[in-house]
């Protein structure tokens, strides 16, 4: 076993080294079609309301964003470059409360309409100030924005209520697709859920439901010389094994989300240097979200018991062998300086104590005290293998050990979201907080009761005020203190949601796929304009 493991490690390392060395010397080649496998379906095409890779992997290449994470350095949380703006990303003026973007003059939508600042403003009006009844999943990231104006056709100004370090990373979110104002004005805010008209590197060819989305090279793309590919095809393959075999058999070139360690080992063993492996910590975590409007989950003692019953340390040790989860952490991406250490979490937050027997005992006590010693409920989950089903099954086993009986209700992606967003008829649901840009203060807005994508159905003014204070906090020390307070409120006092395990990203891909670099998020670096095929 050791010898085999060593061979795999060597093969992967050689693959990495070979790629790194070759990347320097290689000149991008044009042509070819990139075949991607995507493990989830597309709930809608609208980036402003969606939060799933099932949408962003096939649809992102049709759109541009105002700024983006540097595609050549996507691991950095601070390296942003202009996409639809000119020059470099602006620094905040007037004490960090005014950001002026100069819009490129050479950009056209795929239908031929020239892009102006009015289009970007209309886009951000939809994201930041959506009218009543219009969903915006990232509205909370822009709480500091006071106004958006366009002094002229190619200038866009964001005025903030107060300075905040979260603004630029929030603008760089890959979900902030820029739409044409005329489309929004003429067709309304729901039009983009089923229609596509962007300025991205590829134009829409077709979407065959359940099969694939394809795009072809946009000749008028504003980043000259790109894209290198003639086109791409995003093939829908919900089963992980199908995706794995597609890459192994050469039917697909890459999967952008990530495979578990076992799948990586199988691929490297089978294909050797024909496979290159890129790995990274992942700004993504699954949550256990109780529906506070359903009894007995309106009782914080019951919710806290659910968190206490989960042995995260054992999960980290064993689940990381079969799933794309690994790291124990709180609400903040564990690798970030603002994250709370495991030791501190163990002292202050229910479920993080390493003495799991004591946690179980406390969980049972809380349930008995709440009048539900034999609690039973249904766990709502998403029909995606990795890591949803694995983590769901693990959580059910953990709860069983605390005397809680749980059945699992799995739904495909679209009805899964319909249940979370509209029907709300679930007891406890698996949910996720997967963010693109590592931007902890913005990332933890997911836990705000008023966040558009918090499905726990509750209200809490203390949490809101703590977050408001956090947004305005200038120095790292006060930010840390406020994050601790916020985290304790979410995970312990309210136990409004529970964190499971943070993910670990493993991307094995065909070695002839060049130009793509792994990021700590499966949402980043998906424009595909920097990818080329060395065939």
């Amino acid at each position: 076993m050791k010898s085999h493991g060593l061979k795999l490690a060597v093969a992967a390392t050689v693959g990495l080294a070979f790629t790194a060395g070759a990347a320097v010397a290689d000149t991008p080649k044009s042509g070819g079609t990139l075949n991607i496998v995507v493990g989830s379906k597309i709930p809608s095409y609208d980036g402003h309301i969606e939060s799933t890779f099932g949408m962003i992997h096939p649809i992102r290449p049709f759109y541009s964003t105002l700024i983006r994470v540097n595609p050549d350095n996507p691991s950095s949380p601070v390296d942003f470059v202009c996409d639809l703006c000119e020059g470099s990303v602006p620094a905040g003026a007037e004490g960090g409360t005014k950001f002026t973007f100069k819009i490129r003059k050479d950009v056209k939508f795929h239908d031929g309409t020239p892009l102006t600042a009015a289009d970007v403003k209309a886009t951000y009006d939809k994201i930041v100030f959506p009218p009543e009844g219009v969903a915006s999943s990232r509205k909370a990231y822009f709480k500091a924005v006071d106004s958006i104006t366009t002094p002229d056709d190619y200038t866009l100004v964001f005025k903030l209520k107060h300075p905040t370090a979260t603004f630029i990373p929030a603008v760089a979110m890959p979900f902030n697709f820029v739409y044409a104002k005329k489309d929004l004005d003429a067709n309304g805010y729901n039009w983009h859920q089923r229609n596509i008209n962007g300025t991205g590197a590829f134009t829409f060819v077709e979407h065959v439901a359940g099969s694939h989305v394809s795009g072809k090279k946009y000749a008028g793309y504003h980043h000259k010389g790109r894209p290198y590919l003639d086109g791409y095809k995003a093939i829908s393959a919900p089963k992980m094994n199908v995706r794995l075999q597609a890459i192994r058999g050469g039917r697909a070139d890459i999967e952008f989300r990530g495979f578990p360690p076992k799948a990586r080992d199988d691929l490297v063993k089978a294909l050797g240097d024909k496979i290159t492996v890129q790995e990274s910590d992942w700004n993504c975590v699954l949550l256990l979200t109780p529906n506070h409007e359903v009894k007995p989950f309106d009782d914080p003692r019951v919710r806290r018991a659910l968190s206490l019953a989960v042995n995260r340390y054992e999960g980290s040790k064993y689940l990381s062998r079969i799933a794309i989860v690994k790291t124990v952490g709180g609400v903040v991406f564990p690798a970030h300086p603002l994250a709370t250490s495991i030791e501190d979490l163990g002292k202050t937050v229910a479920g993080y104590n390493t003495d799991h027997a004591a946690n179980i005992k406390e969980a049972k006590r809380l349930l008995k005290e709440a009048g539900h010693p034999n609690l039973s409920f249904t766990l709502h989950n998403r029909g995606v293998d990795q890591p949803y089903r694995v983590v769901g099954t693990w959580a059910i086993d953990q709860w069983k050990k605390a005397g809680i009986t749980v059945k699992q209700w799995v739904q495909p992606t679209s009805p899964f979201y319909a249940t979370l967003r509209k029907k709300g008829d679930f007891d406890v649901s698996i949910d996720f907080n997967c963010q693109a840009v590592v931007n902890p203060i913005a990332d933890i807005s997911k836990f705000l009761p008023t966040a558009g994508n918090n499905y726990a159905n509750f209200a809490d003014t203390e949490l809101e005020s703590t977050y408001d204070a956090l947004l305005k906090a200038g120095d790292e020390g006060s930010q840390k203190a406020l994050v601790r307070k916020y985290e304790k409120r979410v995970l312990n006092d309210l136990a409004s949601q529970a964190i499971t395990l943070w993910w670990y990203k493993i991307n094995p891909h065909r070695s002839y796929v060049k130009g793509w670099k792994i990021a700590p998020s499966h949402y980043l670096n998906q424009a595909l304009d920097n990818i080329w095929l060395d065939k």
């Binding site: 076992k262 054992e314 059945k407 699992q408 209700w409």
Partner: protein
């Protein structure tokens, strides 16, 4: 009464012989059917006494024993969650049989009622009922089941509905064809002329005489239901974790087909043996109950 004695003579099963002798003759006459019956009985035994047979709780994970190969401690090895596969296969028989029997009995019983009713009343009722049946039968079983699952959602109860509904028209069509012949028999005419009610004629004179095709369909449905349940669970649309179900286990095992093949092999084998057993048993039942086959043999 006039047909009773030749029936016994033709089959050469004289009264009064000890049960063991009769059983031995039956096994010799239908060896494959006997093998099928053995599998069915074994499954039923496993399903009923699962708690006593299995060494571990099928839903309990022991993570330190993840993906352990077959051994004295774990006869069939463990799966990716460290659960004993032998225990899950045994408990899986319970899920398979529960779904199989419920779907087969309810589906064929409703089919019996519809088929007999349609044949007996005839005319427009028969015309309309048969056209509806045509519509249902236009879809392959799995497609129909998938469509129903997409409407009702997944889970054990929904799977039972999804499998039962496609069985109804299939049984109704077969039963109707037999009932059409029975309807024309002189004793049915006699019953009508005496003034017996429709219910009495159907229950006393027609239904008992279509029992042979009904039972054949029933046994055939058992194997089909098990296979369908496994297929739906394999596709992630049927029974959900952590419930032990063969299709679900097979699906989970595909990820480890190379490094831990036992995770998929055992549930796959269980499905194969169960369906094979039910099919052999069903064929034997058909051979015994179908007068034409009986005459040929």
């Amino acid at each position: 009464m006039t047909t009773a004695e030749p029936f016994i003579e033709n089959n050469k099963i004289p009264d009064g012989k000890p049960l063991s002798v009769r059983f031995g003759r039956m096994v010799r006459a239908q060896p494959l059917g006997a093998a099928g019956a053995f599998v069915v009985l074994l499954m039923i035994f496993a399903a009923i006494f699962a708690e006593y047979i299995t060494p571990y709780d099928p839903e309990n994970s022991s993570y330190e024993f993840m993906l352990v190969g077959p051994s004295a401690d774990f006869l069939m090895g463990t799966d990716q969650f460290g659960r004993d596969i032998f225990s899950r296969v045994i408990f899986g028989a319970r899920t398979a049989l529960m779904v199989g029997f419920i779907c087969a009995i309810i589906g064929s019983s409703i089919g019996l009622v519809i088929g007999v009713g349609s044949a007996y009343f005839g005319g427009r009722i028969d015309l309309y009922v048969q056209r509806v049946i045509d519509i249902f039968m236009a879809f392959p079983l799995i497609i129909m089941a998938l469509a129903i699952i997409s409407i009702f959602g997944n889970g054990t109860d929904k799977v039972i509905i999804a499998i039962t509904i496609p069985f109804i028209p299939r049984c109704a069509r077969v039963v109707r064809s037999s009932a059409l012949a029975v309807r024309e028999m002189p004793y049915v005419d006699a019953a009508r002329s005496i003034g017996y009610s429709h219910i009495r004629i159907i229950m006393r004179h027609i239904a008992p005489n279509v029992m042979a095709p009904f039972l054949i369909m029933l046994t055939a449905f058992l194997g089909e239901a098990i296979l369908l349940e496994a297929s739906l669970s394999f596709l992630g649309l049927g029974v959900q974790e952590p419930t032990p179900a063969w299709g679900l286990m097979l699906q989970g095992g595909t990820e480890y087909a190379e490094s831990a093949p036992w995770v998929a092999i055992w549930p796959g084998l269980a499905i194969t043996i169960a369906v094979f057993g039910f099919n052999l048993f069903g064929d034997a039942v058909r051979d015994i109950l179908d007068p034409r086959l009986r005459a040929n043999s």
